[in-house]
Symmetry: C2
Subunit: 506 residues, 2 copies
Amino acid sequence: MLNVSHSGLSASRLGYAKEKMSENGPWGKVLTIDTMNPTVKKVEYAVRGPIVQRAVQIEKELREGVKKPFAEVIKANIGDAHAMGQQPITFFRQVLAMCSYPELLNDSSFPEDAKHRARRILQSCGGSSLGAYSASQGIDCVLQDVARYIERRDGGIPCNPENVYLTTGASDGIMTMLKLLVCGEDEGRTGVMISIPQYPLYSAALAELGAVQINYYLNEDKCWSMDLSELKRSLKEARRHCNPRALCIINPGNPTGQVQSRDCIEDVIRFAAKERLLLMADEVYQDNVYAEGCEFHSFKKVLFEMGPEYSDSVELVSFHSTSKCYMGECGFRGGYMEIINMDPEVKAQLNKLVSVRLCPPVPGQALMGLVVNPPQPGEPSYINFIKERSATLSALAEKARLTEEILNTVPGISCNPVQGAMYSFPSISLSKAAIEEAAENDQAPDMFYCMRLLEETGICLVPGSGFGQKDGTYHFRMTILPPMDKLKVLLTKVKEFHQRFTNQYS
Amino acid sequence: MLNVSHSGLSASRLGYAKEKMSENGPWGKVLTIDTMNPTVKKVEYAVRGPIVQRAVQIEKELREGVKKPFAEVIKANIGDAHAMGQQPITFFRQVLAMCSYPELLNDSSFPEDAKHRARRILQSCGGSSLGAYSASQGIDCVLQDVARYIERRDGGIPCNPENVYLTTGASDGIMTMLKLLVCGEDEGRTGVMISIPQYPLYSAALAELGAVQINYYLNEDKCWSMDLSELKRSLKEARRHCNPRALCIINPGNPTGQVQSRDCIEDVIRFAAKERLLLMADEVYQDNVYAEGCEFHSFKKVLFEMGPEYSDSVELVSFHSTSKCYMGECGFRGGYMEIINMDPEVKAQLNKLVSVRLCPPVPGQALMGLVVNPPQPGEPSYINFIKERSATLSALAEKARLTEEILNTVPGISCNPVQGAMYSFPSISLSKAAIEEAAENDQAPDMFYCMRLLEETGICLVPGSGFGQKDGTYHFRMTILPPMDKLKVLLTKVKEFHQRFTNQYS
């Protein structure tokens, strides 16, 4: 693979400065690990990290007939509902099929409300085609439907469609907002507060952008709630070495499955107002609330109910997506963000920035439009829609309950209630011997644990170290998405493995 | 909109350093034009710039009954075929509809080859659903189909699916590759050579990433061809102030519509090999070749035919997309890139980087898979597919010819042959008086011209200054996509306007 095409050409004839030669070697690659973007190298993303790569490899080995102590890999590493067998909502897919192939609008087997939605979306597309670029902010009728959805959800607090941006999944919106925020050098560098444990998109995006990650710890003893004193501590420390400008919240929580109380959200808003932090509320699990007494409160609603003192000033961006809730349509990469109190000049820059990528995928936009404008009472698809949605959400609630219950029967595993979202994040006790053996393997202790679990049982979880955790504590994240029969197998195997592992390293 | 919630709190109690207060004012917004990411502010994107915003406004005024000297806005500013009335390929949309709503696999009105493709794609999706995340690199069967397509296209030169990455349109791939490349500070900063005129995604991406844009000028006198001496000049100058590491080529050309000769491509490859530049070949118009004697040569094919001296060493990335050619499916944001001779360690970093965004939109991946694996002779959809594809491509060829012909009848407009792609980029003579009036309006002369054209005729073109051009020359970019009847109207109106404008400012 060496470049041998330069024989006879001296380095000076090629015009290379001496130091460039010594850096890369004159005949080596242009792009090497030493000459690539250093911020990219710092990026980590556990949800698709080494353990998942090994799981894929094991699946391949199984297909090739390699003998293992298990027949299949059960993946509980990623919030990918359809991959775990969850069925899509019929109505959504009917409309998408008609939008893709409008001949189907003449097919009498499709219900009228689905046809109506398909026509409405297509009329809002250039040339009545999903294949045309949309406006960079999104298809007009979807922006309007999102705004009306937000108003309904928030008890009538107004939402201007001009403040809504459709996105390529929530990740894209979060990345775009963080990109707008980053500036400064050294101690003036933008810092962004994120919860620990966190969803690693945040740390990855901050690393990629060269911003400073400011950790605030969720309180595991209080069901992973946010703690005002911890926010204060974290901010105070961060101010010594960077310029903290934003506070990210994931509610309901990923990877920790908590649902924030209204009081807690008010505290956070007051804190952000006082400390002048832009709030980024990742609310993609807004329909995933299972626990008795828990309820989803949008940051926007709470902000506006706190009165103009807050609602006229606090800068807030809220993110939603087609990927979670009862839809689980991750593959379409649909999402939106609503911006509140954004400076108009910054908004103009945001418009420009999103226009460079032309537009979010239009099928994902259409799907987002359906999620916020589903069948209504009296429409032909309503009953079936409600049936499908309820079945999915109640199955998730049941799995959340079961996961907590079974994990808490295992000595050495302690699991908070899975109040919402799609994850449990139990802590695991690891002995000194286990920690030492992990160190010998050059692995974080919970990575060592999860890797062993995978090799022995075929169960793929993500170690807590990929999300961040308090020093000296160990966790894993496990989705509650596998079908009930597999989830039971999974939980039993985790239980048995943990006992075996504990005995081995006691 | 002022934050009034801090009354009574002193700045010191809030912990603000004095300089921070003076920067933003203590009660203002967190995120302002002065405190946002400075690199984002430098981004420009003409294709959706002020002229297009004004066109959208005029359309609104027309709907509201405002009287104008025209009845409709004709947009020739963006390569958006479906928005201009081009019909999608039936086969592609049938398969997408079945993938969206698999019940349709039982519908006897769909042809068997379409069903076969839909089943193949769904089997490669998690949970047999477009709604599952794919692997970050893309759906396995699509990666394989892309590899086979490249092999067919390039006369059997092997393509390893592991070197193929599906993307969210070509823009996403280009951005990702540039992101990998950027490093260094000051004179060591990564420089990237781009053609002038260029497609402004490149300048926008380089601005956003803080890389150095290195301009090389295409030779308008030789039908916008690349010129080796100009490449050398450009590189030599750039080496004084940055570290040039990559050379971007758009072939067939955007905005200039040229098709590169094989000899020229060989020259460029030799230049890149000698000067150690990574090649980025934007080949999204690979099916859009109209002129007699012109042919598309992929950079990869030429590279490999030049022998191992080159094919074993030159780093090349080639980009393709569902958005152009005969498909014009921009809204799906489908695309791929093939990487050749990439350092394995860098490839591992690339894999990590794309995994943070989870995956490209799966419907767009499916569509990319269909584009590279369309109906074959003997399959039921073949004849109709060929008929639709040929009709679109021959209409484009006819429009390319007509555009050149009519524009060249206008004194003061000079238009190179539209050999390929979807654009003409004629030069326009502007008088001193016109240039002075533009300056009084604080506009580039060709922006002034295009804005006047829009206001007087409703025709929306993009000024050459948005793409870059030699100092003292003026151009506009116009797509050849409007339907034939509208294209004729457009060309006649441009002709009349140019004569009027020339007379007025003579």
